[in-house]
Subunit: 421 residues, 2 copies
């Protein structure tokens, strides 16, 4: 069974594998090892050559395939590193580069992914918990600002414990706020304006304009401080302790993409990552970066975690940012989990491991499985179209054919195409 | 750059990681380490308990998540192991189990995946190459029969060198055969009948009934020896050396699923694995097992390889079987690769690494990157519906919504849903 204390896959590999093997393992798992910032500057960021010797000349796609060293460690300011150490959270930074173009300069943007445990117990007063989380996130965002982050995203339902396991309504529903002007949105607007940063704030939403109904929502706040809009969780789990259909319905806002100063972003909340069509529609609507703020536990999904957001980045020629919360949460009243086992007051631990995946199939290492953390990733958005032109998944996608097939498949009288002897 | 001689990720991890770390790494990467066949028999294949101690009781999905030990090493007959050693190909076997049900007995089926280099040089006479490949495959299929394989699948365009890099027509187009009654299909029919085995034979097809046009096709032969049908490559690459659009068009047979005695199967050929909608439609039509016979090189796709078929198994609640050929192929005339580099006579090496992925997110280790091999996987097809009921991706899929959105998105005047400040 999963050991929550086991720090991370990356640390284990770095510790035990000889350097040459480590390089190969990282190439296979992450699309190439990272170089240090100093090496990168010294090399003049040359993407035209590099380690291409063995195996023949490869092809244009090689520039974007596993052998290209696109992903490099960022040089983060020492003040940021010190603050993170003092604040007891991990700080990592990586850069994804693209080939030089003649007509477009690099479109670099820095995203920040925040993963954290809840700082107070789940049964502390609601207002105190929200306040403590605001303080914690505020401190991490300060460090993100030192690191030049342009767009920051917090974890799913970040202002509350992930209490949907309980199926209790009070007090957990009291964490719900207005998306447009609740206290958390106003808090985020201040941060956004102060740091000139786009803020993605996933919360439990109370929809005052529509029957006071609850939604699982992400509020997107512009770096100007204005609320840009909101987007809702499109797919809702009924798996084990994730009794979210007890609280809210499938999102009704479709697949909005938000045009920010730093690029087009979308938010695919949690369980929506299991649905390729969901990622796909955000990409169809133009997202260069799709955030996936999540809350998931080890026993349930840990071997899926490296796969799904990564596949979405590959399949859709875009960047994806997978965020998972950290820690174990204990609830005041016991609950069961639909598995025949005895009632209990927690349902496992959230294993963090947040990461960013790029369209060229490379990805960052994950943040820790156990610690609060901030992952900073510098993305050159030009990579999206470059990979698009090389791999052509959209060009060869035959979407008109699938539109027809899917329309047929959803009919009540659909007969699956089965060939029999 | 990739070293073709580096044997495999699995071997490297097994060699260097301490046992406790290896267990965790395998859990994260493969959905749990395998137990030996002897341990499995001794344990009475108990899926109700197992290593669930730490971390709380988990939930129903735990039975199908990373902590469940579904994947076990098969006890293969010593005669098979000896024959494989003599035949100089790797032989591996694993089993995926499911929970016991009251009304359905286990629906176990053994699939075989064959990866191989071409035994003769690419410029040897066509008839000799085909004959040599038939002999090689025949020997491997004999061993598959010893291992109780029910459904066997060969690699993409298995009777020829992967010559589409050259863009030359003759002599490569002479490898094309009739799907219904060409020499290779007749050869496969004999094998199928002899071994009571379903045979999936991906070939270059010559369509005599439709203008003698070429297709990239997989012929499916029933264990009765009858040709069940054929299925064509739905997505065609134009990436670097994969100049396949020079030879054939996108397949026009939709997404057929073949009902065999051992279960429902489909074939997603090569580049089609990059398209989630493609996997999806085979699953919609009822496939329990989707084969992905491929031919791809290291520089291009190796870091994608563990991701795509694995994601498809997770997303669609089915088994997927990813096969890649092995070795380096040298062509008589030099060709360029669309990357600005000098002309050359090979374009890299095919890295094998064939594997099977299960709906519970677990997977087998890969076959070698360098050697011919046969991977035998025993699947309990009951796992598909069990995972379906636990994870509910199809139930929560909202396909009617996506059918509408996709139909809109393919319109010439579609306006992406972009929210601006």
């Amino acid at each position: 069974m999963a050991e929550p204390e086991w720090e991370s896959l990356e640390q284990c590999l770095e510790k035990h594998l000889p350097p040459a093997d480590l390089r190969e393992v990282k190439r296979l798992l992450y699309g190439k090892e990272t170089r240090s910032g100093a090496q990168r500057l010294a090399a003049g960021v040359d993407l035209g050559t590099g380690e291409c010797g063995e195996g023949g000349p490869g092809d244009q796609a090689e520039r974007f395939g596993a052998s290209r060293d696109h992903k490099e460690k960022l040089d983060l300011p020492s003040q940021a590193l010190e603050s993170a150490a003092e604040g007891d959270f991990e700080l990592q930074g990586y850069a994804f580069e693209a080939a030089e173009e003649q007509l477009r300069g690099p479109r670099t943007v820095r995203v920040g992914l925040v993963q954290n445990r809840i700082p107070l117990p789940a049964d502390a007063p609601v207002a105190k918990q929200v306040s403590a989380l605001h303080r914690r996130i505020e401190a991490i965002v300060e460090v993100a600002a030192m690191c030049g982050v342009n767009i920051i995203c917090f974890q799913e339902a970040w202002t509350m414990p992930f209490a949907f396991c309980t199926r209790e309504k009070l007090p957990w529903t009291e964490f719900a706020e207005s998306a447009e002007d609740g206290p958390t949105t106003r808090f985020c607007q201040k941060l956004a304006k102060k740091h000139n940063m786009v803020v993605v704030s996933p919360i439990l939403e109370r929809d005052g304009a529509h029957g006071d109904v609850l939604w699982n929502t992400a509020v997107v706040i512009s770096n100007s401080g204005a609320v840009l809009g909101k987007t809702r969780k499109n797919h809702i789990p009924r798996v084990g302790d994730f009794n979210e259909s007890t609280y809210y319905m499938e999102g009704n806002l479709g697949h909005p993409v938000f045009q920010t100063q730093f690029g087009r972003i979308a938010v695919n909340i949690c369980y929506g990552r299991h649905h390729p069509l969901n990622w796909f529609m955000y990409s169809v609507n133009g997202a260069d970066i799709i955030f996936n703020p999540s809350a998931t536990i080890g026993a349930l999904s840990e071997s899926m975690w490296p796969i799904e957001a990564r596949n979405a980045a590959i399949a859709n020629h875009c960047f994806t940012c997978a965020i998972n919360r950290v820690g174990k949460e204990y609830f005041p009243h016991e609950f069961t989990s639909g598995d025949g086992k005895k009632a209990h007051k927690d349902f496992g631990y959230f294993y963090g491991s947040s990461y960013v995946a790029a369209p060229d199939s490379s990805r960052t290492p994950g943040l820790s499985r156990t610690r609060d953390g901030l992952l900073v990733a510098e993305l050159n958005l030009n990579l999206c179209r470059q990979v698009n032109d090389v791999w052509n998944f959209k060009m060869t996608g035959r979407y008109d054919m699938y539109a027809r097939e899917l329309a047929e498949a959803v009919q009540p009288d659909y007969r699956p195409h089965i060939v029999r002897e």
